[in-house]
């Protein structure tokens, strides 16, 4: 049958019915799929929340153990400037006191700006990030032992965790016996480590 033989009036009703059925069918299918996906999303969210909170509830005893064991250490590290803000003023004060107590002829320092630090060994920082400040010390010493006296003073009194990275000791020539004699010149670089939250949130206790 050719198109010109078609009596479109005869087909009009059927075409309308087909179009209505098609549009209604697609609409209810789309709406039902939308409803199903939304409910599935809600369920996944609530289920994940339930699993998370139930696990935390079940692990609350374990959390208590962790808090009892590690929170005092955490506070101690925080107070000692290892976690949270670094204590530069304290470092300088300790250096000044040590210079006076040890009677060093001279000690000059220079602290560079703090930078993210990646050690040469492996670490598991979790949500934290390690930063370090490089401190350069130039000293005149009566003898080599004064360098270790300085380190001992820093170990005992300075708030922070440091590690010497480079040290150079050199003899100045003739050895003199006076207490303020500068028989040895020393220069050292110290890395002062600080642990902070990686997202930048300040740790407050």
């Amino acid at each position: 049958m050719q198109l010109k033989d078609m009596d479109w009036k005869e087909l009009r009703g059927a075409i309308v019915i087909l179009a209505v059925c098609l549009s209604v069918g697609i609409s209810i299918l789309y709406l039902s799929l939308y409803f199903q996906e939304r409910m599935q999303r809600d369920f996944n969210r609530n289920d994940a929340r339930f699993r998370s909170i139930s696990q935390r509830y079940l692990a609350v005893d374990e959390e208590e153990k962790l808090i009892n064991e590690y929170y005092p250490k955490f506070i101690d590290l925080f107070n000692h400037g290892v976690i949270g803000k670094e204590q530069r003023l304290n470092w300088i004060e300790v250096l000044r006191t040590a210079t006076r107590d040890i009677k060093l002829p001279r000690l000059s320092y220079q602290i560079e700006s703090q930078k993210p630090y990646t050690p040469g060994y492996s670490i598991s920082p979790g949500k934290f990030k390690v930063y370090s400040s490089n401190m350069k010390l130039e000293m005149s010493l009566l003898h080599e032992g004064d360098l270790f006296n300085i380190f001992a003073e820093l170990d005992e009194k300075a708030r922070g965790l440091y590690s010497p990275t480079i040290c150079t000791l050199s003899s100045t020539g003739e050895i003199m016996e006076q207490r303020d004699a500068a028989n040895v010149k020393a220069s050292c670089e110290l890395q002062w480590y600080t642990i902070k939250l990686a997202d930048g949130t300040e740790i407050k206790i």
Binding site: Q2, D5, D47, Y71, F74, E144, S170
Partner: protein, 537 residues
């Protein structure tokens, strides 16, 4: 209106228009059997009544069954080709044989066994289209779906399957109330010829003598056409009923050349599933019943004449497709809805449980102090600080080790001590950034393995010194330095000691000059010391 709508969707209802030269009859098919019937004259008045009938009835699919004298049959052969080539050949043959009629039908009935094995075809035509066309036009005007135009002789072939063991040479004799006596001959169950004879009005004269005479005529014709021979007995089947059938039985006995079979069309009609009763010898109802039941493909109607039937099929296809699509999407949507409701229910349960556990968790946490980070992060931070502390180092150990050995060699004076710490024992202190693989054999580099040494990291020192006093005896000075480094290397934790420079470089790949007459007063040297460090257990 409702009944009209219902009748529009009665898919099983249809009707047959039986046409002859003098009469036309309508047979309705109500579901699974013949229903009411109407009779019309083939004249202006009859066609007016028929139009009124069409006007007052629904547009049921209509099958036209004709029984005219003006129907011709030809058998021919055509090359075994397909598609447009066959169409062209058939059109050429139609133009030659049946030029003036559109009601032409052809079909392949077999293939030649010899030669190029042409197709054997049967061609038939209603040679007077004016007999059919007015009725078809009326149906088209009233938008009645015309399913097809058929003819009694061709359709008789569909009756064969209801006969018991029909012979290869079979003559079927039927009487139609509208047209008369129809004799149709089949050879090997293939239609060959058919003949229509007008009969006197039923009841005015006995039919048996007429039928006997007409059978004799067609037998003679079949003989003359060599369609039957003495070796092939002819089977004559009478599809009749009542007294006429009994009368014929009495006067026809089987012989060597002819075998007679008598079928009561009333019983035959019932055997094919009709509840109709036939009291006359006419087989109109049998043909009507079979045609409306079997709904064969149209023989004669053109596609344009069948357009309302095609559109009806298209219309129902679209409606059914639409409804099925709607039902399908409704079912699918139902499943989605049920699944969504199931998720909603489970989501509510999960939410309630989460709230419950959250309350319990908060209650449990009340006895714990407020902490700035999660409990597990406390552990991470503390362990991270310890890890950094583990690698905290000091030059004290290596200074102590060097000092202890230096004390045993009073002539050795240290001038400079450069120190660093690294996990790489091969660190090049002059170039700390690129230190992993110092050149092998080069003086001053340990080039020792730092794997599986058991140390966690290393302290590396470059020491410069000189011998004092020095009297110019280089051999003694070198021996002293060698002894010093050897003793240093034997101390606990010393991983490696190497000499960077000696007071006198006696290796063959350097130039050497001096004055043996004067005592040299300088005996400088430098060494590299690597101390391995282990963390406290």
């Amino acid at each position: 209106m409702i009944s009209s709508l219902i009748s529009r969707f009665r898919f099983t209802h249809r009707r047959l228009l039986f046409l002859s030269a003098h009469k036309a009859a309508i047979y309705h098919w109500n579901g699974n059997d013949l229903g009411s019937s109407y009779l019309f004259d083939v004249d202006e008045e009859g066609r007016a009544y028929f139009e009124r009938y069409l006007n007052e009835t629904t547009k049921l699919p209509t099958y036209i069954l004709t029984d005219y004298f003006e129907e011709e049959y030809r058998q021919d052969t055509v090359p075994h080709v397909f598609g447009s080539d066959r169409q062209a050949i058939l059109l050429r043959k139609k133009g030659r044989l049946f030029r003036d009629t559109p009601y032409f039908y052809s079909r392949v009935i077999g293939r030649e066994e010899d030669g190029r094995k042409d197709d054997r075809i049967l061609m038939t035509a209603l040679t007077n289209p004016d007999l059919v066309r007015p009725w078809v036009t009326m149906l088209d005007n009233y938008k009645v779906p015309l399913a097809g135009v058929y003819s009694v002789p061709l359709f008789t072939e569909s009756i064969l399957k209801h006969l018991e063991n029909p012979s290869d040479h079979l003559l079927i004799v039927t009487l139609q109330s509208l047209s008369g006596l129809r004799q149709t001959f089949f050879q090997d169950r293939e239609f060959r010829i058919s003949r229509l004879v007008q009969m006197p009005r039923y009841g005015t004269e006995p039919y048996a003598p007429y039928i006997r005479d007409e059978i004799e005529k067609i037998r003679r014709y079949l003989n003359s056409m060599r369609l039957i021979t003495e070796e092939d007995p002819l089977e004559i089947c009478f599809l009749l009923s009542g007294d006429l059938l009994d009368d014929l039985k009495k006067h026809h006995e089987d012989s060597a050349l002819v075998r007679y079979e008598f079928y009561n069309i009333d019983e035959l009609l019932k055997s094919v599933g009709s509840s109709q009763t036939i009291t006359t010898p006419f087989s109109d109802k049998l043909f009507a019943h079979q045609l409306l039941k079997q709904k064969p493909r149209s023989y004669y109607a053109s596609s344009r004449e069948r357009r309302y039937f095609t559109m009806r099929t298209l219309r129902y296809t679209m409606i059914v497709s639409g409804v099925l699509l709607l039902l399908g999407s409704a079912v699918w949507s139902g499943f989605n809805l049920m699944e969504g409701l199931s998720y909603k229910q489970r989501s509510l349960i999960a939410d309630n449980k989460a709230r419950f556990y959250n309350q319990r968790y908060e209650m449990a946490r009340e006895r714990l102090p407020d902490i700035p980070v999660e409990p597990e992060d406390l552990k991470v931070a503390v362990e991270l600080a310890h890890r950094l502390g583990d690698y905290k180092t000091s030059p004290l150990k290596i200074v102590q080790a060097v000092s202890a050995v230096t004390g045993r060699y009073p002539d050795i004076r240290l001038d400079e001590f450069r120190w660093t710490a690294s996990v790489d024992p091969n660190l090049d202190m002059s170039n700390p950034g690129a230190s992993q693989a110092p050149p092998a054999g080069k003086i001053g580099y340990s080039n020792v393995s730092y794997k599986d040494t058991g140390y966690d990291y290393y302290q590396i020192a470059h020491i410069k010194g000189h011998l004092e006093p020095f009297n110019g005896d280089f051999r003694k000075a070198i021996d002293q330095i060698n002894a010093f480094t050897e003793e240093l290397g034997n101390r606990d934790g010393i991983h490696d000691v190497s000499i960077l420079s000696l007071p006198l470089d006696v290796s063959s790949n350097t130039s050497l000059s001096g004055n043996t007459g004067s005592d040299s007063r300088e005996a400088d040297f430098s060494i590299r010391v690597v101390l391995g460090i282990k963390h406290a257990a």
